[in-house]
Amino acid sequence: MALIPPAKKIILPEEAVTDPKIPLAQLPLPDGVNLNIKRLVQWGRKSSIWYLSFGIACCAIEGLMSAGGPRFDLDRLGMFFRATPRQADLMIVAGNVNLKMADVVRTLYDQMPEPKYVLAMGSCACSGGPFRGSYNMIDGVDQVIPVDVYVPGCPPRPEAVIDGILRLQEKIMAQAEQED
């Protein structure tokens, strides 16, 4: 008699199984399991943030190269760089944006598909940094595009960038609880 393997248990992410008191969407699932589909989607989003490889200045070496490199390894957060904005979820603005660059940053942001997130890395992208007030500078990239997370520093360490990304993940998960 051939052994029948036991039915595979559906393993759901911890966050996706919610309190049955607030069922936002019901799926035909086994009894006793309520799935918050909104949370599941957001959990998928936060676990595979693909970022645009768009290094503007000094911060790109720390935030994109070193952080994506072997020691800090953004891959373990499900993050991978994409060369085109059409495939990217996150734009890490690593550097200062001047008047000539502002149009480009805006165009790239508009080309990214929804939902999209922006991480302003470094003092220049946050507020202008040492170049604040110069004739050619935009004091903070939030004057051009909306920013989700600010990571100050000149340049911030890769650990600081990873911390900023973890905070972005919290923000993405928090969006699941928002009312439509």
Partner: protein, 376 residues
């Protein structure tokens, strides 16, 4: 984007020619360089670099900051090899002030600068592999670079923007365990250089993509004012450390690596050789390191006597020069940078003319530009 640039016609070109736009967001432009390339089929007819996407008003800001304040600002020029910028600037101020830098400080400057040259070339050869589609050498290079950055953190307190040099000396002395740590890291560097040799330099695909690609004639290179490994790969053994020895470079014995063909392959090879030579200089400097002060006495409010001076150091990319004009005040009247990346980049239209579009990225990557220094 194309329509917004003044002077560029946004119309179909005649004779089936094609105008394409590389950058400013492009994974292989090493920053925010835009190049307008005119193609006929696959062959490049002309290329025009478009600069200014990273212009940060550096020279204007320097005119209102005080002399010691400008030192950390110089780090942001060539952000991969920050020590050289500080050194070029500090030398200019010191020569106007007529300060004698203590001997030990000069040695410390040499040690940190040569370590910085290694980290810079690691990025240079690593990203060159990435440009050609090889990811492994890039990650291997970064792995070794992180070990070097640990040393920088230990001595200067920062990984990348070091701010180690001060006007008249350096910030602090080496820790006691530093020589032993350096030797450990150099073992890793030697391993990396051997691995890189087998992984890329002996790789048939790499050879096809770099040999005889982007050949730079030495006469053309000199006419354009190219310097650094970029020039030395064309067979011109010009190195400021040897031709005009500054600091204590005349006390070390080292080779100036050159090559003869001046193609992308030779440029990579020269950079690899330079890393070995830099390691040798660091070893010699640590052996000869004299005791003494690490910083000359400078007045608290630094007023530089009126005058003008040009000083240069051999950075990882070539001759990093500073032209400083002082009117006797506390901040410079004019601070002009002669940045090697900018001058080397100006040869790009010559290099890529007649090349295939696929080779464009290889040629651009082999110049090893840093846009922060090009646009300033």
């Amino acid at each position: 984007m194309l329509a917004e640039i003044p002077g560029i016609k946004h119309e179909p070109l005649e004779d089936g020619r094609l105008l394409i736009n590389i950058g400013p967001q492009h994974p292989s432009t090493h920053g925010v360089l835009q190049v307008l390339v005119e193609l006929e089929g696959e062959v490049i007819l002309s290329a025009q670099p478009e600069l200014g996407y990273l212009h940060r008003c550096f020279e204007k800001i320097a005119e209102k900051w005080t002399y010691p304040q400008i030192v950390p600002l110089t780090d942001r020029l060539d952000y991969i090899s920050a020590i050289f910028n500080e050194w070029a600037y500090c030398r200019a101020v010191e020569s106007l002030l007529e300060i004698e830098v203590p001997e030990r400080a000069e040695y410390l400057r040499v040690i940190m600068a040569e370590l910085n040259r290694i980290t810079s070339h690691l990025i240079g050869v690593g990203t060159f592999g990435l440009d050609l589609g090889a990811t492994t050498p890039f990650t291997w290079a970064l792995r070794v670079r992180e070990e070097f950055l640990n040393l920088f953190e230990l001595v200067t307190g920062a990984r990348q923007m070091n701010h180690y040099l001060r006007i008249g000396g350096v910030k602090q002395d080496l820790p006691e365990e530093f020589p032993a740590l350096v030797e450990k890291v150099f073992v890793l560097l030697d391993e990396f250089l051997e691995d890189y040799q087998t992984l890329l330099l002996d790789n048939p695909i790499f050879l096809v993509r770099t040999k005889s690609i982007g050949v730079l004639d030495p006469q053309v290179a000199l006419a354009y004012g190219a310097t650094g490994p970029f020039l030395r790969a064309s067979g011109v053994p010009l190195d400021l450390r040897v031709s005009e020895p500054y600091s204590v470079y005349d006390r070390f014995s080292f080779q100036v690596p050159t090559a003869s063909n001046g193609d992308c392959y030779d440029r990579t090879k020269v950079r690899l050789e330079e890393m070995r030579e830099s390691a040798s200089i660091v070893r010699q400097a640590l052996k000869q390191l004299p005791d003494g002060e690490i910083r000359a006495k400078t007045p608290k409010v630094l007023k530089v006597p009126a005058g003008e001076v040009y000083t240069a150091v051999e950075s990882a990319r070539g001759e990093m020069g500073v032209y400083l004009v002082s009117d006797g005040g506390t901040s410079p009247y004019r601070l002009k940078w002669r940045s090697p990346s900018f001058v080397n980049l100006s040869t790009l239209p010559v290099l890529v003319k007649g090349a295939k579009l696929a080779d464009f990225i290889a040629i651009l990557g082999s110049i090893d530009i840093i846009l922060g220094e090009v646009d300033r």
